[in-house]
């Protein structure tokens, strides 16, 4: 019997099988950041051991960093302490750090791929659930807790239960104005936030194949929002082209050898998945969420479901009360207060280009507060080089320095209580963007149009003959 992509990569990393179904899995790359690592470093110190393979760890500061005046000392004492602790730990243990001010600093899931650290066939972990992003390259990448961060520091391995496999196939062609963010919000709205639990997902089908690397990362990023351990996409020419020439990419003959191996990473025709779903790209509309988990999404022209239409009326009622919305209501035309473009889901150069393309020569609605937070220093530099920052500035957007920012409201970038924020991030949980903040998840294009119009729109109405209007 053939193997799935997941099995091919996983099997190459199994050091040993243990009683009780656990396996010792070797980890090729370990990414760390300031929030989930300090207790792990402490643990290593307490055990009186050294970090086993420090060259396999890369660190950055992203969750807690301010996005304004990044050259100044961090004002918030606790945030500064956490970022400084990371710096000290990296110095003490000899770990490569792209800290605040470094030209490669940025959100951990943006910098890994952009520096060529993320490659097909690897195992990658990080103390962060959106590590699944790296699966877009055909790597097995997943989030871990801090105790596991310590495990990997101590042994470069994890003791894990092999997840089940799932394939989600999206065939067909996406309509104009529909982006990969809409695909993944659509899938999660169908499968719910627990639909993928216990599984590792492979995304396949012609609609997936046609996507750029950036767009594939958006999809894999949100795998965790349906409860899956991770998501991956078989590498192909698009993948190899993206990696070629990046800082940590193999060169010359080594690159060719790598491509030869990477090309073997796909699910065999006779491979069997524990679960399979198939969707048609033509059914996907621009999506928006109305509730307080990422599974509560609808096509933008649809109505919010009524109590009779959902499995758990109590959960729906609780969400809608928090969101200040009514069952059965439509969102089209609803006034919005904030637009946040950023996060490891949609803050890459391609996302900024989509936004700039649309807002060029236009102005944001006067009542809208529009913030763009690039995913990394490199994205920021590229945006400046392409003149995107001027376009965005002229349109009235506020351009910040890189970091997680209002995606989780750990720094001062928060959405005020009761106000509506249309966001390109991945989570709309209660209070995620600040206490009482009301989040609606959308694609970058939908966010850009809403910034200009000031209310919820159907992106397709702003496109003529495939051109933005």
């Amino acid at each position: 019997m053939g193997k799935t992509l997941f099995e091919k990569v996983w099997d190459r990393h199994v050091v040993d099988s243990v009683e009780g179904g656990q396996e010792i899995l070797y980890i090729d790359k370990h990414l760390i950041h300031e929030v989930t690592s300090p207790q792990a470093f402490d643990g290593i110190r307490k055990r009186g051991i050294d970090i086993f393979r420090k060259e396999r760890i890369v660190a950055t500061a992203d969750h807690n960093v301010p996005t304004k005046d990044q050259h100044l000392p961090i004002k918030d004492y606790l945030s500064r302490l956490q970022v400084d602790t990371l710096t000290q730990n990296c110095e003490e243990f000899g770990i490569e750090l792209f800290g605040l001010g470094h030209k490669y600093q940025g959100i951990v899931h943006v910098i890994g791929p952009e520096l060529g650290i993320t490659k097909p066939g690897m195992t990658i972990v990080c103390g962060d659930s959106h590590t699944s992003t790296h699966g877009a390259f055909g790597a097995i990448a997943f989030g871990i807790g801090t105790s596991q961060v310590e495990q990997v520091m101590a042994t470069q391995c994890l003791l894990v239960q092999r997840p089940k496999t799932m394939r989600i196939t999206i065939d067909g062609e996406l309509g104009k104005g529909i982006y990969s963010k809409d695909i993944i919000l659509y899938i999660i709205s169908k499968l719910s936030t627990s639909g993928g639990t216990g599984h590792f997902v492979e995304y396949a089908g012609s609609a997936i194949r046609s996507l750029s690397m950036e767009a594939r990362m958006t999809i894999c990023n949100m795998s965790i929002e349906m409860g899956a351990r991770g998501g991956m996409i078989a590498p192909d020419e698009t993948t190899f082209e993206y990696i070629k020439g990046r800082k940590h990419a193999p060169e010359g003959e080594k690159f060719d050898k790598a491509v030869a191996y990477w090309s073997s990473l796909y699910s065999d025709d006779d491979a069997v998945f524990d679960k399979e779903y198939t969707f048609s790209a033509e059914d996907i509309e621009p999506m928006i969420t109305y509730g307080t988990n990422p599974g509560m999404g609808i096509g933008v022209t649809q109505s919010i479901p009524t109590k009779d239409e959902v499995k758990s009326p109590a959960a729906l009622a609780k969400s809608l009360e928090y969101m200040g919305l009514q069952e059965g209501e439509k969102l089209l035309g609803r006034k919005i207060d904030h637009v946040f473009i950023g996060s490891c889901t949609n803050s890459r150069i391609e996302d900024l280009r989509i936004v700039a393309d649309y807002v060029k020569g236009k102005k944001k609605a006067p009542h809208i507060n529009a913030m763009i937070v690039p995913g990394s220093k490199q994205v920021e530099a590229q945006a400046i080089e392409e003149g995107l920052h001027e376009i965005l500035f002229d349109a009235g957007f506020e351009l910040r320095g890189p970091g997680c920012s209002a995606c989780l409201g750990m720094n001062e970038d928060k959405i005020p209580k009761g106000e509506y924020c249309v966001s390109t991030s991945n989570r709309n949980y209660e209070g995620r963007q600040g206490p009482g903040a009301r989040t609606m998840l959308v694609s970058p294009l939908t966010a850009a149009i809403i910034a200009v119009e000031g209310h919820v729109v159907d992106a397709r109405e702003f496109i003529n003959d495939g051109e933005l209007v």
Binding site: H13, I24, T155, C157
Partner: protein, 197 residues
């Protein structure tokens, strides 16, 4: 890690489904560099209003309920991988969480911190909520050795699943790192033949 053998306690009922880790401990309280003290902010935004006053209708603020077992509805612990969620529950004083379903990462984090996730059938969960509603002082016994949970004074009893390795760890207070460190030779041997591109 503290050993876990049997636990008899009254329970705290949280009749909410899809409890995500952002609710268990909001991001703005993740700034500590140690594992202690997170219990103070457990369920912060459900427990306190913006001025920091306890909200009387939230279960942790009601004297009626106490104990070291938390019972919640389906799909507990979804969302962010923050282990701080498990630390906050432990720091507050919980030793076990009962639900009809747990999100993967949360489950692993809980087990790594001596917090036992007990997955029961939806019917058992329903019965459990009903018993607690009748009498808030109903004790519940969890026996890890036998892998059973029972509502004392009733004939409601159920078995739960746990990997035999994780069970051994909890019963003895071992953690995964101790185990992996004892396998260093195998890991080094693996590295010799592990080809990377």
């Amino acid at each position: 890690m503290e050993k876990f053998k049997t636990l008899t306690s009254t329970v705290v009922p949280l009749a909410v489904q899809d409890v995500d880790t952002d609710q268990i401990i909001p991001a703005r309280f993740l700034k500590a560099t140690t594992r202690e003290g997170f219990g103070e902010n457990l369920f912060r935004d459900w427990r306190y209003d913006q001025e920091g006053n306890p909200k009387p209708d939230f279960v942790l603020n009601q004297n009626t309920y106490s104990g070291s077992i938390l019972v919640a509805e389906d799909n507990f612990g979804c969302g962010s991988s923050r282990e701080h969620a498990a630390w906050a529950l432990v720091d507050y004083g919980f030793r076990a969480v009962v639900s009809s379903f747990f999100a993967d990462i949360f489950k692993g984090n809980a087990l790594n911190n001596g917090l036992l996730p007990v997955q029961v059938s939806p019917e058992f969960l329903k019965a459990m909520f009903a018993e607690i509603n009748k009498d808030a002082n109903t004790p519940v016994t969890i026996n890890l050795e036998e892998q059973t949970i029972e509502i004392d004074g009733t004939d409601l009893k159920e078995n739960f699943e746990i990997s035999s390795y994780k069970k051994m760890c909890l019963l003895n207070g071992y953690d995964d790192i101790d185990f992996l460190l004892s396998n260093k030779d195998k890991i080094e041997a693996f590295e010799q033949s592990h080809q990377e591109f």
